[in-house]
Amino acid sequence: MWLPVLGLFIGLVIGWFTNVSIPEAYAHYLSIAILAALDTLFGGMRAHLQKNYDNVVFVSGIFFNIILAAGLAFLGVKLGVDLYLVALFAFGVRLFNNIAIIRRLFIQMWRERAEKNVHKS
């Protein structure tokens, strides 16, 4: 459980201290990539809780989503339409969905545990 948090922390530290800077023009792509990663992460968490987690799906999903979103944003820039909003919308909706499902699953787990405790006592 703590390993992903540690990973996040290590990533933050590496990003902070390597002093790599992204030009402001590419900030859009980066934010979409972050959103894609978040989406995949929560999707993975949901799948894990629903016990249908697949490592290949998860890892391929994150890179595929990032590339797709960045490609869409790039196409948008070339066409002069803010196509990155499409990715933003899709990821945003899915993020909320996944988090809602995760919340429900947690609540369900908590209720089941409480019921068990009642039965024990």
Binding site: P4, G7, V20, L41, G44
Partner: protein, 227 residues
Amino acid sequence: MLSITLVTAFLGFMVALQFGVTKEDKPRDTRDIYQLQDDLTKAEKKHVQLNEQLSESNRLLEGYESDDTKSQLQTMKEALDKQKELAGETVKAGTGVLVTVQALAQGYSEAGEGLNADLIRRLINELNTLGATDIAIADERLTNRSPIRMVHEIVYVNDHPLPDLPFPIRVLTPHPSDLKKRLEVSESMEDFAREGLTMMVKVEDRLKLPANGESEKVEYMKPVKGD
């Protein structure tokens, strides 16, 4: 679990980069060694100058704080004279250059129609950067508050119109020949030429600048009440 960890690490890395995007806005220091040395020299000069000012102020303070009324009065008088000199209310003489503004050639801007306030202002800025200590334009002594403006196509300095061409600009400086050389190749020279005017620059050993006759109107200053 390992893949999730890798993904979160990746996510953290990207988030850190995202923070870096807005952080990188401050300009980079691209000065080379000579520019740094130059800046250092400037800072040292400023340091010396500030120290001089400090000791001067301390000397004044000592004078004020002495018990002797006579020396207090003397100090006050000195301070007042100093302020008057700074405000350009005294006649000042010394080495300097005499700049005569005239038409570039016959038929060019002889009535001085090319002359405008911006031109004069730019010239004054340039003179100040070239090391001028005091400037008088056609007997109008310039202070920090001297207005230079156009009224009906005529340039007014200190609320007095400039005379017809040619008129003199007297500039006091400790290094007149340097200032002369620099002024002759300055931007102002080209600006003046563009307007059909030119400046004759002459080094003078003894140049006298008139006092600024107008007394300053002080509107927003009040004496501090002592405790």
